[in-house]
């Protein structure tokens, strides 16, 4: 029985208040959801009559579509709010916006916002469950869950795995949630990147080891995750050029030799091919980058299902 842990009504701000057993429950449920979306008819009536609202104060088409698709496949009604063209520009506060929406009878919010902590504010204003779809550089727990699920699916467990995350550790919300989640599930995590892109005290905060030499970092790695490098950081003077970055921190075949033979290669997308990852690696049999995207929809279905109190067995199977 996979649904023994009850997550009904919970929020997901970040992974720190989810136990390993709860995360396992999410993974088990994701597996079921994945079966649904691999069928010809990809929809179940589980969340019929529930209304989910996506609030995207920051553009992220990929994440928004993934969430909306997840909700629709469970037959929930979806309302989407985007900052563009809204009255927020005219000085309406987050609080006012939420109060207005909440008056329309929403059961769950999904929010992407540039400020850390914004999802908790939405929960405080409404009392409804809130899923964090990215709050500034703070957290992006559903992305971390899909990354972790993608590993779990292939390796059965994260326990004892050596996972290397390479790139802009400082500005990545994906990294923070992943570090919390992966450590929680028993993995050994190494973060790698230039010193200018490494957050201070990363070892104290997450219990992970920073390494500045990629060749060393990937030795005997089970998983390597490359992060998208933004040109903006070059303009901020944090690294000199994409060429130099790629030379020292890009994933190529030479680097791959140090890793384990069955290493998994991951990337949260969208990729800069030729910068943080070379096509020879991105398209190799080690890459599970495409599976990550599919798993994203499945993980989000699992979360909506568990939090909105869907019952497994009756409707789903």
């Amino acid at each position: 029985m996979i649904n023994k842990i009850n997550l009904t009504g919970r929020c997901l701000f970040d992974l720190d208040d989810y136990s390993p057993a709860e995360i396992e429950t999410i993974f088990e449920t994701t597996k079921v959801m994945k079966k649904i979306i691999q069928r010809d008819y990809k929809k179940v009536p589980t969340l019929n009559g529930k209304t989910v609202c996506t609030l995207f104060f920051e553009d992220s088409t990929r994440t928004r579509i993934s969430f909306e698709l997840a909700a629709k496949r469970l037959s929930a009604d979806v309302i989407s709010f985007a900052k563009k063209g809204s009255s927020l520009k005219k000085g309406e506060t987050l609080q006012d916006t939420i109060y207005t929406l909440d008056a329309m009878g929403i059961d769950l919010y999904i929010i992407r916002h540039e400020s850390p902590g914004a999802p908790a504010l939405v929960n405080r204003y409404t009392g409804k469950p809130v899923l964090n779809a990215g709050d500034g550089p703070h957290a992006h727990p559903t992305q971390a869950l899909l990354d972790m699920f993608s590993i779990w699916e292939k390796k059965d467990s994260l326990k004892g795995l050596k996972i290397v995350i390479v790139g802009d550790i400082l500005h990545s919300r994906v990294v923070r949630s992943n570090l919390i989640g992966m450590k929680k599930m028993g993995a050994k995590v190494i973060v790698c990147g230039p010193r200018t892109l490494m957050p201070p005290k990363v070892d104290d905060v997450y219990g992970v080891i920073p390494e500045y030499d990629l060749n060393k970092a990937v030795q005997n790695a089970d998983v390597i995750m490359a992060l998208r490098m933004q040109l903006e950081r070059q303009e901020q003077g944090l690294f000199p050029s994409l060429g130099e970055y790629s030379k020292y921190y890009g994933l190529n075949n030479r680097v791959m030799k140090y890793a384990k033979n069955d290493v998994l290669i991951m990337h949260p997308g969208p990729m800069n091919r030729g910068v943080e990852i070379l096509p020879e690696v991105a398209d190799s049999e080690h890459s599970i980058i495409i599976a990550q995207v599919t798993n994203g929809v499945a993980v989000r279905m699992a979360l909506l299902f568990l939090i909105l109190g869907g019952k497994i067995g009756r409707e789903v199977k």
Partner: protein
Amino acid sequence: MMKLLKNGKVYLLDRKKFVKSDVLISGKIIKKIAENISEKSAEEYDCTGLHIFPGFVDMHCHLRDPGFTSKEDIESGSLSAAKGGFTSVCCMPNTKPAIDNISTINYVSRKARDVGKTKIFVIGAMSKGIEGKEIANIGSMVKGGVVAISDDGNCIQDTNLTLNVMRYASTFNIPIIVHPEDYSLSGKGQVNYGFMSTKLGLEGIPSLSEEMIVSREIMLAEVTNSHVHLAHLSTKRAVKMVRRAKADGINVTAEVTPHHLILTEKACDGLDTNTKMKPPLRTEEDRQALIEGLLDGTIDAVATDHAPHLDYEKELEFPKAPFGIIGFESAFPVIYTKLIKTGVMNLEQLIEKMVINPAKIINKDLGKIQEGAKADLNAIDLNESFIFTKDEILSKSKNSPFIGEKFFGKIKMTICDGKFTWKE
């Protein structure tokens, strides 16, 4: 009518300790201090069990008047200060218009006199409009009565301008108060650069941002022979630099806030915007260094940096909320509970940091409990505990991280110029 405070433990300046005495106040003046005064024509106040302190002097606060009076004004600020046991406060010039001219100085002084709840000393701007471009009319402002000059939160980044302000100000023998912050390093930072900025995914304000300017100002003070007062120190290295500068005979003084002495960056976990301030709350190591600096005389004064902001401004996403917290009404109870009751410092040291030294830095004859001196004092029940609640705050703003906490040291009355300005 004369006032007779009976049976309090009074801090006697000449003996530098608390002695059980009566205090007779006539008009604005302390007429007599002795055991067992009887004076039929005086109104008696039983102060048994109370400690009578010289009125506290806050050398760094924001009264938001003129310009931002919905946050605070001179009246509400004065009441809040009086409730906190303060009889003198110095207000920073970042108002609208900025206090860089005689008419604004006069406006503040006149309004302070009309309200009559606390002595308000004005700090004038260093640069015109606190814009960091041109030297303000420092001479005229000194004539108008300012006790110091500062651009506070708008720390002048241009070293040459700062040098000239110091050279110019030294002609008028006036302290220059600097909020040390290098903006190229603090940038869009929200909390201390380190553990918390990483954990919360917020941009960090490195210690270096403060230390760069502290070190610059020490050098400038040395070459210009001027008195530089460094506001609200927050880092270990800044304390070390001030200690060394003092040993070298450079004319620098420094202050620290109660919150930097008590809280660390850990308080920011949970993203309560009432922990958002500049400089940010730092590490335990920094906090210990601040305490050490306070005790060994490196840091001269405790100042509140009372910075009122309204609920709706603070109840925003963390990066959008303004920096700063209020401080008048919590300053004494916080320090008494967390540092004195715990044996870190004693009451006499507190008087030095909250009365004697700040008065000395602004060159004012304040805070002396002795016959013939101005009657500026307060009476505190050190054993009475209370919960610091929003409802009881007299400031217009309630932005304090201490709300809901239990403190000892209840201020029962404050007397300024012989008049009750606060009485429970």
